[in-house]
Amino acid sequence: MRLSFWSYENPAFVGICGGAMSLKGAEILLVAPRGDSYINVLFSVYKRSIDFMPVTLCTIEKRELSEGAEDKIKEAIENTWKDSPPRLLFIVTTCTAELLKIDFNAIRAWAEYILMTPVIFIESNSFTETESEALDRFMAKMVDQFTVHALKTKVPSVNLIGPYYFGFHEQSNLEEIHSLLSSLGIEINSIFPWKASLDNIRHLPAAWANISLSPESSMRTLELLKLQFNQPIVKTIPIGELGIKRFIDELAALGLTDGKLKLSDKDMLYGMGSYIGRVNNFAHSVNAEQLRRRKAFVFGSFTQAVGVTRFLAEELHFPVVAAGTYSLALADRFREELAGIDTEVFITNDFKEVRQRIMDTQPDLILATQMEKHIAADLNIPSAIISPPINNEMFPVSFQPFVGYRGAAHLADLIFNPLTVGLEDNLKRMFGEDEDDIEEEVPAVLDLKDDDLIWTPEALRELKKIPFFVRPIARKSIEEYARAKNERTITLDLMYEAKENAGG
């Protein structure tokens, strides 16, 4: 056993379900205790989709422990899909079903025979595997099972490997990478597994190369495609303008493009083209100049932490005091990528260690996961989220890419906005905080100058129990009630009486 206070990575079945439900027309049978259907909560809360998640739950209850679960699983499959088989059915388990000795391979074969549709059992290991490792294994299995050799496309093309339902700013990143690739004359052959059909998977080998914006969850699949179909892996991730430049150079070296962006006048006026060079302009402004006397702290997934650290150090010249990742499997590559940067590199998935490093380095800005955002709030340090794990900010309503030119622009804003700079900052440094800015514990809620009401200490104590955001309204209505009754003193009795008689 190990003691864990917080995990930066979700368990295996989140990766498998996330991958499977990304596929077009796929459905999932989840064999698990009822509570594990929280995967549906993740799906519906973050994706805000009109569809229910395509997951049917086969609940493991006490009875199944003694009587076995096979019959119940078969019954669930028959009842749900006999009349309308899905295009693809996945059987997924969590820890509980893994511990029971259920012959899923036999059930899989039976289901395929009954439904006449491909049924795939993805074995998961909840005790050892993480979400990203499981997603990678899921994709590799799909490639292994469904791809066949295909002729390369006539025009240069790439596959995007790894975008999926729970990906980081996935929708925005896809749009931006698509714009960037088209302007380089490169087509997208298949996106996998995001909204991919079986045909899209079969067609993967036709691309000239493979791109992944999340190597932590796709290295295995990329290596498999390289081995089987001789498809090179594009290693650079186009985060930041220099990152984009290296990305284009790598594509050019692979012979996919001449490296020249072909942009229309419209693109240059108000499209992607109008964002080119903005970060460079920003980096040479009076505001950015002030960043140089500060220090940033970066922590996140491999891709995000590398991209953001290099962007800060190489493009904004914003010193990075420490850069870390929780992607343990990519530790060596992480060190390699940041070898040229003057920063302290660290690898850990223990949030207490991250917290300690923040305390030790005393950064002016924290760019990390949602966990560090809360630590930052505790320590009163500005922060922004630049990495998974899954949280609401990963699924913005608006267009907020991290890659490409508009991604670089977004990143610059994300870094700059939490900071206080300019004259305001100088004044604070010169003269300290303005006393009036320091918030009182009990906010003054009313204009008290001709207020003759007295609150008894008991009533006042009770008032403080009301959440602060509704406290002013509650106080106002209680005081109005007291005035209406011609009471001068607000006692506990009067307070409850007022509360009970509110409204109407």
Partner: protein, 394 residues
């Protein structure tokens, strides 16, 4: 006889571990160590967000592969308990069993004994498992474990209110009982040192319909358990306080006037419930008292489904529930969706997993968790309770 049907279907609800999300706020300096898998850990994280973890009150003793083959030494758990006690101020440590820990037959009860002796604070084993418990029953497991720790040596009459309540509701209930001679206390208490004494002279009243194990434990300790309704809405609150006062041999004054007064003031608001059709998905076990409440205001209950029903605990509730309303246990999700198409309800009370897609499909939906985590009990919350429904129908 009321029509109760068990469909043994698949429905979407939470894992009972969720209860620690609100109990850690109730019991000061309590810490929760989940003995489970990474699946359990990620559930708690995703259910309650990270704010809780920046100042941890929970941790997971993550079962690893070798535990499956070699078993786990109590020494490991003791090390973890010591680490937690060193790093955080804790007065009580709960060791929570889970589906995998129960499947692996880990002897968590013994670990708790060993750790308790070593650390000199209560270390309590809580057998929570999603294999047989529903979402809110996590609170039941924890409270029933606490009953074992309540002192029994004080043999004078007292009143215990059982079930976690918002701070403002607790104050209000204490206020209602201010003239009693009996000492009044809460389970869970605000601090572990304040566990109420339990004896044959104790009167206990349960505040939530999902506290069946706790009810059994209290009954076994000889408590007098007041049979009443759950204080949701002014009428039920009146009934609730009347029943408690009667059980204590005290006469209640002015309750009916207060009820009438609240009804008179809120007539317009009640009109927005009248004639509307309500559909309950199974989730929190609060479905029956809430349906009773809506039905008493003239709402039509087109579906009343619950994860499970504790008929003993709910006997008085069921008396007040319109006999024509059928109750469905463990409803089947697909069947319920068909029923929604047929009945076109005005408001659906749904678990978190279904709320967004139902809203997207154009239904009016109230997320059921709000009834667990908002102050809705007692006279003064009557209006807020009605508004939870009416606001969702706008």
């Amino acid at each position: 006889m009321r029509n109760i049907e068990d469909r043994a279907g698949c429905f979407f609800s939470f894992c009972p571990l969720a209860a620690i999300g609100w109990l850690h706020r109730k019991i000061k300096n309590s810490f929760y160590l989940v003995i489970g898998s990474p699946v359990c850990e990620s559930f708690i994280q995703n259910a309650f967000g990270m704010m809780l973890f920046a100042k941890p009150r929970f941790a997971t003793a993550v079962i690893e592969e070798y535990d499956l083959f070699l078993g786990t030494s109590p020494k490991r758990i003791l090390e973890f308990a010591k680490e937690i006690a060193n790093d955080y101020k804790i007065d009580v440590l709960f060791l929570l069993e889970t589906c995998p820990s129960q499947l692996l037959k880990l002897d968590v009860a013994r670990w708790a004994e060993i750790a308790s002796a070593e650390l000199e604070i209560p270390v309590i084993n809580v057998p929570i498992s999603g294999l047989d418990a529903s979402f809110t029953e996590g609170e039941d497991s924890i409270l029933s474990s606490l009953v074992d720790l309540c002192p029994s040596d004080v043999h004078r009459p007292n009143l215990i209110l059982v079930g976690s309540l918002a701070g403002s509701v607790e104050s209000e209930f204490l206020y209602e009982f201010r003239n009693l001679k009996h000492p009044v206390s809460f389970l869970p208490p605000a601090a572990i040192g304040e566990l109420p004494p339990i004896s044959e002279k104790t009167t206990a009243v349960l505040l939530h319909p999902y506290l069946e194990q706790t009810r059994k434990k209290l009954a076994a300790r000889g408590c007098n358990i007041v049979s009443t309704v759950f204080p949701l809405g002014a009428s039920a609150s009146r009934q609730f306080f009347e029943d408690v006062f009667n059980a204590l041999g005290v006469s209640a004054k002015g309750l009916a006037e207060r009820e009438a007064n609240i009804f008179a003031r809120n007539a317009e608001l009640h009109g927005r419930i009248f004639g509307k059709k309500f559909f309950f998905f199974p989730d929190t076990q609060l479905e029956i008292p809430l349906a009773r409440f809506l039905s008493s205001l003239g709402g039509e209950i087109v579906e009343l489904s619950v994860p499970k029903i504790n008929t003993k605990l709910l006997s008085k509730e069921l008396e007040f529930l319109d006999n024509g309303i059928a109750i469905i246990e463990r409803a089947d999700f697909n069947e319920q969706m068909n029923k929604i198409l047929l009945t076109r309800p005005d408001l659906i009370i749904a678990p978190l997993a279904l709320t967004t897609p139902l809203l997207q499909k154009g239904y009016k939906v109230k997320h059921s968790m709000d009834f667990v985590l908002l102050p809705i009990q007692g006279f003064s919350n009557h209006r807020s309770l009605v508004e939870l429904f009416t606001n969702a129908m706008i």
